[in-house]
Symmetry: C2
Subunit: 349 residues, 2 copies
Amino acid sequence: MRSEDIAKLAGVSRSTVSRVINNYPNVPPETREKVLKVIQQHHYQPNTYARALAGKGTNTIGLFVVSTADKFSTHRIYQNNYFAPFVESVVDTANSLGYYVLIHTLYTLEDYQKVKQACLQKRIDGGILVGTRKEVDVIRELVGLEAPIVLIDYDIGEIIASRLDKSNVSVINSKDYDGAAEAVDYLISLGHRKIGMINGSVNTFSGAERFKAYESVLQRNGLSVEKGYILNGDFLKQNAYHEVRGLLASGQELPTAFFAANDDMAAAAYEAFKEFGLSIPEDISIVGFDDGPIAAQLVPKLTTVRVPIYDMSKEAVQKVVALCEQTVTAFSTVSFPAPLVVRDSCREL
Amino acid sequence: MRSEDIAKLAGVSRSTVSRVINNYPNVPPETREKVLKVIQQHHYQPNTYARALAGKGTNTIGLFVVSTADKFSTHRIYQNNYFAPFVESVVDTANSLGYYVLIHTLYTLEDYQKVKQACLQKRIDGGILVGTRKEVDVIRELVGLEAPIVLIDYDIGEIIASRLDKSNVSVINSKDYDGAAEAVDYLISLGHRKIGMINGSVNTFSGAERFKAYESVLQRNGLSVEKGYILNGDFLKQNAYHEVRGLLASGQELPTAFFAANDDMAAAAYEAFKEFGLSIPEDISIVGFDDGPIAAQLVPKLTTVRVPIYDMSKEAVQKVVALCEQTVTAFSTVSFPAPLVVRDSCREL
DNA sequence: TTGATTCATAAACGCGCGTTCAGGAATCAG
DNA sequence: CTGATTCCTGAACGCGCGTTTATGAATCAA
């Protein structure tokens, strides 16, 4: 069923059908009614690609989720308590704005080319990237495309930032440094002096910021940063679990508190602690990051830093859509606050 | 950058460029090389929509995830231990076959129209639906479309099944009835006589099958089906939690074992039991369904029925892609086995 | 009644690409 | 050397739709 068929059935020309569909003003009510009726009856839907080709967009945005694990890993990222809400929220927001979401997972550095490809092919009107690694020079790769791009959780350099208004790249992130600093400050205020860290991937914006804050706050308070207390994780449960067990089994003196770079790894620590007979918060305190769904489900409830995932993803979609529809032309950087949420996983020493 | 630009730069006609891109045999090696070089240099990518319009597909499949919750609910479905792996696996499989995935969430009955729309608009070459409700007459809505459709977790009637080879609709599901029967049989074999059920949405294929099996097995063993022991959930944690608490607080005699229609609701029962001082499996036994990631993470590890989610979603994508590319023309129904995985959440009476 | 203006609509072009078809060059057989 | 064949390639058409432009009808003012 093409628009020409509709035109014939309605006794008008194809142009008129098109004008009706696109809400042109200069078509008399009766004609409009007549055409709409035929469209309804035959369940006509304009061909997206012909439409796109003729100049309309495609109402499709790309969502590119960067995995810290590799494709063959058993750590599945959409089970991750950070990405899952992102995906869901992006899809819902986009749908409610009449947009479709093309979802793609990025495992390797080469996979980033998929973003460029999708834009060059005009497959998407714009794109959102979540969890981009720092070593990828995304800016240079993506700048200059026609499609607007929003990077969630990324930090562009100062220089590039100053020219951002001319770029097609916007950035949305949370104030991870501040949130992490507040978390560590909180532990210190409770009397903790030996504080361990369970790191996320430090080659991501979030991973790096959270660790930097940890180091700085310790130093600012005259506490030493013990290498042995820093566990290297990757935001995923499994590795964190083994790292924590390793420390616990080593026999060395333990920290009295841990700061985990995300909730999943904190949950892994919960398990390891339990297996070694350590109870939270009596024997050991812990703070997480993200405030994803598991945070409040853990026993005891996890004190953590809240990342406003829904707000961020909503903002990202709205931004991309606005840029696609040119209701906005300025690109921007938006930082959401990341406050500490105190629950039951820390005790005063 | 259009193919005509490439043609000019390479000193050939647009037709030749097209032939190179689409791997036509009748173009001499040198010419091919020359054109490919220009394409590489200028990062040319053919416009997807022009391509689609000219007869090629779009290499895009739709993934429609049906939510049992409503859009404004706080129960987010992609955090659900059943859907998240599905989404991830579908995306990965599709990408590895060179396909893109358009993801959509279906909340209301009207939302099912989105599936038809996407097909009619030629936005997708084919579609996959997960978790379709029974009351939706999806068959009638979707049959007759040009695009192939795969329904995961659905049961088409016998009559329609016999004509399935002429239809565009295929079905993939797990043998939920058998799996559930095995689970309840197992509890009975351990000596349990009072077995409760935590139901999922019985308006879905899975929900209905699992409950039917529960009833049948009890009756076959001469056990009565106690209304009071049947809790009505919706596959989501929160409601199950309140239902279980309600039963525990009611003061009535408790079952010695529960069969939960999925792992998430079993996890909710874990919490409720713990709060009422009941330990698993000493005081009460429980079996779940799905064998999602949390099953083995729960303490004690959950005995559950394994649904081969990755296999099913992989099969679904391969099926759709094969149908899109017409390497296969027969539509089919595939049922995967759902075996009981015995862990630590049940004890012998 | 006539010229000027508005309004409704159809014809025509372009979006970028795949593919068919025909023509020209090159190769071959005779 | 000539006619037949093969090989290569460019022109032309169509995919379905948005939009511009032109045309003809209808309305208005004078």
